[in-house]
């Protein structure tokens, strides 16, 4: 009988997590394991995740791969799973404290934001000092990815963050406003329309992910300004990379969910076989699966890869 493992994602509608699940399933089949997948119902839903952890324990799973919706609140449930002898690996999002999980395979979301912020600043040159920035965030609940990407971007762009654990409290006059998008095209479009009504001169748009970037682009196109506005985003999904190639998005930070998932599944297999737990990357307290800036307009001082390379690495 094969080893049984669980994958618990934040939601299962975001393509990012869909791909993560596909990667994990592929690896599990390869290793002859059974994998059961669970997800929160909405962004920020940690209660369903607690229920999923409980179900996995009841079901006798050997290990759990978890992308936590609320990095602090989930800690108790993780602890009781670990007490029951289950290996818990945090994927994508580190828990708080990070050692609440047995191991962490993650991207640094702040870093992802930082890269696009730096890129946007350099790409604009002097105009950056008088830029008009629109920030398209995820939800008013401000889950940690949402905050880290947004604050990373602002840091990279050279904006004072005020409280780094919260978006929306910045006082920099260049910021036109924050709007929430739910991370999809519809939300991106509506949010962009509202911000444009507020100030039609916006020329930099940060977006939480590529679908919301595509929505924002439609709004800009509708008023004929799609050419003179810089849109940056995070994720690196295949449609997103194609959008970078087409000039819809200026630059995006690519993550590697398939790799995270595959590594996670392997670690569980190993743990089931001989009880060894995975080790973190040297010098960090987690295993960094890396993030890369993708753009066809590289700037000095910010490392990047082009869309051809990005398309090879993209995840969906």
């Amino acid at each position: 009988e094969g080893v049984s493992a669980c994958l618990i994602t934040k939601t299962d509608t975001n393509p990012f997590f869909v791909k993560m699940k596909e990667g994990a399933e592929a690896k599990a089949t390869e290793l002859g394991m059974t994998l059961k997948a669970y997800a929160g119902k909405i962004d920020g839903d940690h209660e369903s995740q607690v229920a999923a952890i409980e179900a996995c324990v009841a079901d006798g799973a050997k290990g759990i791969l978890l992308t936590a919706s609320d990095t602090k609140a989930i800690v108790d449930a993780v602890k009781s799973a670990r007490d029951a002898g289950v290996l818990v690996i945090a994927l994508d999002t580190p828990l708080d404290p990070i050692d609440a999980a047995d191991a962490t395979f993650a991207t640094d979301n702040f870093q992802a934001g930082l890269l696009i912020g730096q890129w946007a600043k350099s790409a604009m040159g002097d105009a950056a000092a008088t830029a008009k920035i629109a920030l398209l965030d995820l939800s008013i609940a401000q889950p940690s990815v949402d905050v880290m990407r947004d604050q990373g971007f602002l840091q990279g762009f050279g904006v004072d963050l005020a409280d780094a654990n919260k978006w929306g409290d910045e006082t920099d006059p260049r910021i036109v406003g924050n709007e929430v998008t739910s991370g999809n095209e519809e939300g991106g479009l509506k949010a962009m329309e509202a911000l444009l009504a507020k100030d039609p001169e916006i020329n930099v748009v940060y977006t939480i992910n590529e679908p919301s970037a595509a929505g924002a682009y439609e709004a800009l196109k509708a008023i004929g300004r799609e050419k003179d506005v810089l849109i940056v985003s995070v994720d690196g999904g295949c449609p997103g990379v194609a959008d970078v190639k087409d000039g819809v998005i200026g630059a995006t930070s690519q993550q590697y969910p398939l790799q995270m998932a595959a590594l996670g599944v392997e670690a569980i297999a190993k743990f089931a076989a001989d009880g060894t737990k995975p080790a973190p990357t040297e010098g960090k307290d987690f295993f960094d699966t890396g993030v890369a800036l993708i753009t066809d307009k590289p700037v000095d001082g910010v490392e990047s890869i082009d869309t051809t390379k990005g398309a090879e690495l993209c995840w969906g």
């Binding site: 008013i140 095209e185 509202a194 911000l195 194609a242």
Partner: protein, 357 residues
């Protein structure tokens, strides 16, 4: 005839020469009274007053609000909710509720997209299939409500989950990109087209919404079918006793709602450019449309209210959202204030009605 019968009704002789005069009373003709009586007879005008007041206030608060482009943006932002609101209105008038409207809309748009992109069906045919399937989804709701007699809330809660899940499973969470649609199946984006009188862009979708509201308003007031919809919602048992085919009406109503949702799905493609299974309408379309319906003065207990009221309800929400965004900054505060304003709008509405009664 029995002996006591005669005496029993003899007092009715007093009826001879009974007055045939119809009561007539002095009618008050002051301007205020006339306004009151007009409001009393035209309840959909009440949300309109709230709307006008809101527009004026926001116009004073933000200089950007009173621009033609802002106003046209508001209209285009409510186009989808307005169409879903038409669907929701007919259902609510029958004392039902449809939680699945958003899911039907999103799933229909995905079906239209996948029909042309996955199977290469020409866009107009794909749209037709999408509309038919959307109608079918609505009809299933109707069947469960009318024939199996399940509560509409539960039926549509169930189909909401079912359709949304089907939507994600069927689409494999894949978005069809705007540029691809533009190249290969531009008919899908039809409603995103616009006319631009004096540089102000007005989407076809906006005209469609207004046309649907007008048509449904006519159908509900001026046709037998419309009166039957009201009768079913008012008191289904009485309607049945009075000879209304309540089951048939219910199935038709839910099917029609499904059809409108499918249209909304088509409009979504035009409006957003792309076809996305994760569109928030799938999750929030029901609450948004119910909000428009209730602010517009349609009773959730059925049988009372007008679809024109729903239209103003949707507009009120649209104006508040846009106005608050222009005035304020933080989305959390915007969210807070929208809550306050919704309650306030309905309170004012109630107050005017009371004053008019």
């Amino acid at each position: 005839m029995a002996s006591d019968a005669k005496g029993a009704t003899s007092f009715e002789e007093g009826l001879k020469g009974a007055s045939e005069k119809v009561a007539e009373f002095h009618e008050d003709k002051s301007a205020l009274k006339r306004l009151q009586s007009w409001l009393h007879q035209t309840p959909s005008a009440v949300p309109m007053i709230v709307l006008v007041v809101a527009i004026v206030i926001f116009g004073l608060l933000s200089e950007n609000f009173f621009k033609a482009t802002t106003l046209s943006t508001i209209l285009q932002q409510i186009a989808i909710v307005g169409i879903l609101g038409c669907a929701q209105s007919v259902v609510v008038l029958t004392a039902g509720i449809d939680l699945s409207v958003g899911a039907i809309a999103v799933f229909s748009s995905v079906l239209m997209g996948q029909m042309s992109f996955r199977y290469g069906i020409p866009a107009p045919a794909a749209i037709g299939i999408g509309l038919v399937l959307g109608t079918a989804m609505g009809a299933i709701n109707g069947y469960l409500v009318a024939k199996i007699k399940l509560p509409p809330f539960i039926v549509t809660l169930g189909t909401w989950q079912i359709l949304l899940a089907s939507n994600f499973i069927y689409s494999a969470n894949e978005t069809i990109r705007s540029s691809d649609i533009q190249e290969q199946a531009p008919a899908l984006q039809f409603w995103g087209g616009s006319i631009q009188p004096g540089g102000v862009k007005i989407l076809y979708a906006v005209f469609l919404m207004i046309a649907l509201v007008a048509i449904m308003s006519y159908v509900l007031r001026q046709t037998a079918w419309g009166r039957h919809v009201y009768a079913v919602g008012d008191d289904a048992e009485s309607a049945e006793l009075a000879g209304v085919q309540t089951k048939k009406i219910l199935i038709q109503v839910y099917a029609l709602a499904g059809f409108f949702c499918a249209i909304a799905g088509w409009v979504m493609i035009g409006r957003f450019g792309s076809v996305s299974p994760t569109a928030s309408t799938g999750q929030l379309g029901n609450i948004q449309s119910i909000t428009a319906v209730v602010i517009g003065g349609i009773s959730l207990f059925g049988g009372r209210g007008s679809i024109v009221g729903m239209f103003f309800g949707a507009l009120i929400v649209g104006v508040f959202e846009m106005g608050l965004r222009l005035v304020g900054t933080d989305p959390q505060w915007t969210f807070f204030l929208i809550g306050v304003l919704i309650i306030f709008a309905v309170a004012v509405d109630q107050w005017i009605r009371k004053a008019a009664a």
